[in-house]
Subunit: 331 residues, 2 copies
Amino acid sequence: MKKIINNPSDFVEESIQGLVISHPEIYSFANDNQRVIKRTSKAKNKVGIVSGGGSGHLPVFTGYVGKGLLDACAVGSVFASPSVDQIASAIRNGNNGSGVLCVLGNYGGDVMNFEMACEIVKSEGIETRMIIVSDDIASASNEEKLKRRGIAGLIFTFKIAGASSENGASLEEVYNLTLKANNNLRTIGVAVSSCILPEVGKPTFELENDEIEIGMGIHGEPGIKREKLRKADLLVDDLCKIIFEDFELSNSDKVSIMINSLGATPLEELYIVSKKVNEIFSKKNIEIVKSYVGRYATSLEMAGMSISVLKLDDDLKKALFDHSECPFWIN
Amino acid sequence: MKKIINNPSDFVEESIQGLVISHPEIYSFANDNQRVIKRTSKAKNKVGIVSGGGSGHLPVFTGYVGKGLLDACAVGSVFASPSVDQIASAIRNGNNGSGVLCVLGNYGGDVMNFEMACEIVKSEGIETRMIIVSDDIASASNEEKLKRRGIAGLIFTFKIAGASSENGASLEEVYNLTLKANNNLRTIGVAVSSCILPEVGKPTFELENDEIEIGMGIHGEPGIKREKLRKADLLVDDLCKIIFEDFELSNSDKVSIMINSLGATPLEELYIVSKKVNEIFSKKNIEIVKSYVGRYATSLEMAGMSISVLKLDDDLKKALFDHSECPFWIN
């Protein structure tokens, strides 16, 4: 395991301390909990947007705290849910007096702990709603879409919820727009090589030298199928087919796409993927109004990438383009 | 070699086509050369800022074309200089009628080809100056600073030159401010694992499982020494010592730092590094006014990172904070 770290047990604490010390104008620790990051300039009179989840996915989750995105975030250990206490603290710190929308990935521990935390803060008078993001096509069938995991599409929901709340929408309104974003979201990924968890010290999974796994989750959850590595254009063709089989898009639809590296896969490869995605969508007369290409939701140094599609209407498009302030989102 | 690519020989063309198609509001191909990227909205009446260099380092070089940064950029093959023709085209395309500042890394082929291209465009009436960036401490002694290679510090010089030119400075003034930036810049890096060039298919160099190389260049040029991998804090201590031995910084100095991943090294590790750098600088009463942490100058999927320090005065600080528009620079 070749990592530039200190004690593996200090990995999470030190990395979020580094995040806060590097960008003090954006991120601050909550006063009551060192596993909760909040906005340095707290918002007023708007719905709070709160997330949380395991570490090892930067910029997800904590990196998206900032104006126009998340108000606060609970930070779990590597690939593990934050605790109920941590989430309750994040909700309190993200609350600006107008209720809080929790936006989280669909993982058992996260969902359970968020539900319990929402119960706790309810008794303190904080109203909450919850959006459980489920964009990963590979993790359940279309009929069971609500069982799907949340992956790179999470960032789109953070952006939509954050923008809507900044514009003064009510908790119900922010909830409805973010729910529409989740309904309009699809992601499919491919793993090329494994990551190594600092406290484990060996690869999470093994892939042969010429093998990839379609649909593997960002924690190494089993995907749809293992296949031979093939040319990027053929791979992207197959991934887009999976998206189109799942998600009815017609010509004249407008979408935003995100080509996301799981970590090690470089920008050059992402742009080769993006080129092909653009060609495929163009042939179908589906307009890509904005492309995001980079590292958004990673798995440490895993190699691989995912393609996300968010179908837009006027409200979603406006929220997507609204101004935000965070080192990991370019307006 | 596990890469999401098509034919290795198409790697560069396809990745820059993807860049342009993904961000058409920022990047366009030059009409006369498919290896030259220019700003989509051409500037008027300002000094043009032009760069160029080998591929495989995204976002360097081409990614930094945009308002407040580069006006045009020539794109070489992987780790290879662009040709004289390509550079001459980039200068013509980056010219807005007020002269052109070429900002490039100190590599033999790049310098030679830029010099020849400047001769060619001179005969066409385009006045040029050249800044050869030399921030890599490991590549030559302090007495021979001009022989040093240019690495991640390049981005600071792009930003300073771009901002200065947008503010209406003359070619001489932009040159002087950018020269000051280069004089005030130091970078030291460490390689943890090799990258693989698409057309080569095997690692550029070999490192043992517990071995790192201090000061290795972004093309695998030999560094200062090979050592055992050790805890991040000890490594960062040593790297900062190398910086302070080379570069006189006194308390009350203000600096900006860049913690740059060479590719595979994840954000979490960069923030552990950034935390320690912040602590070391804080003990010396050197104020870090802005930290940049991420992938700025990469070597495909190489693992490792570099620490850059830019000493600021009021003019450099203003230029650093000025607005720019590019997917790889957060204002």
